[in-house]
């Protein structure tokens, strides 16, 4: 394994993953990302093959189990303890390399789409489709979703410059970007003085290394001005491109970037990006709506909506529920809270600007709900993978015997609710702290800041209570609520 000249330097003040004995050496290897991507590509192939050809009962199919139980659970746990590792290992980017070679890739991404509005809309569409089409219960649809993802990444990145798919389209990537804002690690500059002296700026422009081209960041994040994890895929191009070994994967204060409104490369100021705030709101409120879709009261509500609308289709009331839950309700809450903040502080800032800035304080609360929800599925079903894989391989003719069915639980059942509750309360604390720091950053005075942050803390408390209520509801996993 070659370290590509990225030998760790002693004496850095912050813990650097690249300096760790085994992991650091692996990550410094030029082909490490390809290795991770190839591993997930193999998993994606299993999902597609089993989804298309295997038994169509979700719990007995790898396409039902791997994406919806394991991948989602591991994503949130990895975001919690590390960072955006799943974008780093994204298999959809492998065909992109091929696309770059065979498709023209000349056009710039359309100016009108250079924002997060499209991605936020696609996220709403995805979450709605997840419920309306019961993606979780259909291995066949899940397989086609994966195929569509590969095709989308191939076409978009084959036709447009840069990493347009990651930055502007990919709903999964947006989930990772936003939630990695509370992760404890980031790709960052080790010593800022070195960057000031640097004349080549290879971390963004790329360079030639040993006769081959080493790309710089394709998401246009210039390390010297990069802040946090937003839009960072952990692709490590900047790490390999920097001729001074001055980029690492460093430990940091989680959530600090949520209240940092300095100008950031590739993004600008958070407070001036309503599209980013909208993306955050979609993700935060979808966390609660997605969990709401799994408890008994949702069926009563949807049935009432159907009667009211005079329809037997589940798609229409679900669409209304989603538009209400992730568009109308958040908009009303944010505008209301921003108006109160403005009134209580006598600030002259526009309401939309206050709302945009404070919206980022809700990221920890949203992440906590995703964590509570996906951790539940992973903790209760993590071990079901083994008999399933055994059956899969046995069907291929390997002499592995017949699989034993038994409990798939990874964690004792009695621990799950307390862990979920702690996650929600930690999310609430972090959201409240971030709201206060944003407030302090805007208003300066601590008393005014406290008053200004109250509406936002109230929203976080309401979300936290909603989360606890959801956890205490009887679970009911139905795909066809009309049948009940």
């Amino acid at each position: 394994m070659r370290s590509a000249g990225l030998a760790p330097r002693p004496g850095y003040r912050r813990l650097d993953v690249l300096c760790l004995p085994v992991l650091g050496r692996l990550l410094c290897w030029r082909h490490s990302r390809s290795l991770f991507q190839a591993s997930l590509l193999a998993v994606a192939v299993l999902v597609v093959v089993d989804g298309l050809f295997g038994p169509q009962l979700s719990p007995r199919n790898l396409a039902g189990v791997l994406p919806w139980v394991h991948w989602r659970g591991l994503v949130v746990l990895t975001l919690l303890v590390a960072g955006n590792a799943f974008c780093m290992a994204c298999p959809f980017m492998l065909p992109r390399r091929l696309a770059k070679k065979i498709l023209p890739r000349r056009r710039p991404w359309p100016r009108a789409l250079r924002s997060k509005w499209l991605a936020a809309s696609l996220l709403i569409l995805f979450f709605w489709a997840y419920e309306a089409l019961d993606l979780w219960a259909s291995p066949w649809l899940t397989a086609w979703l994966v195929v569509a993802y590969f095709a989308g990444a191939f076409l978009i990145d084959g036709l447009f410059r840069g990493a347009a798919f990651c930055k502007h389209v990919c709903p999964i990537g947006q989930f990772h970007f936003v939630n990695s804002m509370v992760s404890p690690f980031e790709v960052a500059v080790r010593e800022s003085e070195r960057c000031i002296a640097c004349r080549t700026k290879d971390c963004i422009g790329g360079r030639e290394v040993g006769g081959r081209v080493q790309n710089g960041c394709e998401l246009w994040l210039f390390q010297q001005r990069k802040v946090g994890n937003l839009d960072c895929t952990f692709c490590m191009e900047c790490i390999h491109a920097c001729p001074h070994d001055n980029v690492g994967i460093l430990v940091r204060n989680p959530a600090r970037e949520l209240y940092d409104d300095s100008w950031r490369s590739g993004l600008g100021r958070l407070g001036q990006r309503p599209d980013l705030a909208a993306l955050v709101l979609v993700l935060v409120f979808s966390a609660f709506l997605n969990a709401f879709g799994m408890v008994s009261p949702v069926y009563g509500l949807l049935a009432s909506m159907s009667r009211l609308l005079g329809t037997t289709s589940e798609a229409v009331p679900l669409l209304l529920l989603f538009l209400g839950g992730v568009v109308v309700l958040p908009a009303v809450l944010i505008l209301g809270a921003a108006t109160l903040t403005r009134r209580w502080t006598g600030a002259t800032l526009p309401v939309t600007q206050i709302g945009t800035r404070f919206t980022f304080s809700l990221v920890p609360m949203g992440f906590a709900m995703w964590l509570a929800h996906y951790f539940f599925h992973f903790a209760t079903g993590g071990l079901v993978l083994f008999p399933l894989l055994q059956k899969y391989l046995a069907d291929l003719g390997l002499p592995l015997g017949s699989p034993r069915t038994g409990s798939g639980t990874l964690v004792p059942e009695g621990w799950i609710l307390p862990i979920q509750t702690v996650a929600l309360e930690m999310g609430l604390l972090l959201s409240a702290a971030v709201a206060f720091r944003i407030s302090l950053d805007i208003f300066g005075d601590r008393r005014v800041a406290l008053r200004a942050s109250l509406p936002w803390v109230a929203i976080a408390v309401a979300l936290s209570l909603a989360g606890i209520w959801l956890l205490l509801q009887p679970m009911e996993m139905r795909g066809t609520f009309m049948a009940g």
Partner: protein
């Protein structure tokens, strides 16, 4: 005969003076062949595994397995399953062995497995099948017929819920 090490040196030196276009062609060829090999491997894997892992065989299509679930609608807790097996001539099948597996449609939940007891006249019963959670279930009856052949029949059931606090909504009536 040229010794191996010397031959390698000659090859290395000839490579060193080879024109750029040759290097580039070789590199392109290497890359292309690697990509082609990976694609070919993937395609072979898809074909083989797809062909080998067919959907579960249902067995003789003329055999009928009727499910009765009591109470209706089924609720979280124990339910009585009554199965009736008849052959192509609508004659009750006795002497079959029936294994029932209950899966929730959402992956990640523990399956429930029970054996049905014969009642005679082609009827078989599971007196207390434990539905552990509300939601959509699929009961799969694997019927080993008296002649040894296997018949597999799925049956969807929607279970409505009760709830035991402190269990994240999961209630296990087996305890």
């Amino acid at each position: 005969m040229v010794p191996l090490v010397q031959a390698m040196r000659i090859e290395a030196s000839s490579t060193a003076i080879a024109p750029d276009w040759e290097d580039q062609t070789l590199m392109t060829l290497e890359r292309t062949s690697r990509a082609a090999a990976a694609l070919a491997l993937g395609a072979v894997f898809l074909l083989v595994s797809g062909a080998c892992r067919g959907r579960e065989a249902a067995g003789d299509p003329t055999v009928r397995v009727d499910f009765g679930v009591s109470p209706t609608p089924a609720t979280v807790g124990r339910a009585r399953l009554l199965l009736t097996v008849t052959d192509s001539a609508d004659v009750p099948v006795n002497g079959a062995s029936i294994h029932i597996r209950g899966d929730m449609k959402h992956a990640g939940m523990d399956p429930v497995e029970e054996r049905a007891e014969p009642l005679g006249d082609g009827r078989y019963i599971v007196p207390g099948f434990p539905f552990t959670m509300a939601g959509d279930w699929v009961l799969t009856a694997s019927v080993t017929m008296p002649d040894g052949s296997l018949v597999v029949r799925p049956h969807p059931v929607t279970v409505v819920g009760e709830w035991a606090p402190g269990t994240s909504g999961v209630r296990d009536p087996r305890r």
